[in-house]
């Protein structure tokens, strides 16, 4: 049973690398921001899977805070890019 979670964790790590390719290659700045948002989503998912694999509930709290901070950061970057700030 733990094997399936570990495999999912490895798959998500590979997907994070795949999104990082777009983060490095993206032709414009908003491209990179969108890729960063996808990386944040993947990190939240893998953090929750890590809570199951390690059997430590604290990772779920960490995932909540991470999602909240990534949303606030995304809003600030968007406002800054639109030159409204």
């Amino acid at each position: 049973m733990t094997g399936a979670w570990t495999i999912a964790l490895v798959v998500l790590a590979v997907l994070i690398l795949l999104a990082l390719v777009r983060l490095l290659r993206g032709p414009s700045v908003p491209d990179r921001v969108v890729a960063l948002d996808a990386v944040n989503t993947l990190v939240v998912a893998s953090m929750i899977i890590l809570a199951v694999v390690k059997k430590q509930v604290i990772f779920v709290d960490v995932a909540i805070v991470y999602a909240l901070l990534s949303f606030v950061g995304l809003l600030f970057i968007a406002k800054y890019l639109g030159r409204e700030m």
Partner: protein
Amino acid sequence: MINELFTIVLLLSGSIFMLLAAVGICRMPDLYTRMHAAAKVGTIGVILILGAVILSFRELAIATQCLLIILFFLLTAPIGSHMIGRAAYLTGVKLWKGTRVDEWGAAGTDTLEKQSPSSAEPPPDETAS
């Protein structure tokens, strides 16, 4: 037994949706289509994986926290991608050449590059006409 089966199915489908999101991030031709892939498919993937975690732990406290994360993603993913797309359009990121409808461009919205007289950049493609 049936519980583990449901957990595996949810985890597998969530991982597949995450794979689709990442492949869409890499392969889509345009910022806006990439954003579409990242926001919607990524949200569905996170929700399915959280459902698998809820079924795996089967405790009320963790289920509440996971439902909170689901609600938070459902609230914030559209807002975030809307803000990024708006900022990208205002700064003049080009649409894909196969785009059929560009309502904001047809309405004559001034982008920042049109407003500033110094930059000689052409406005974004107005393929909708």
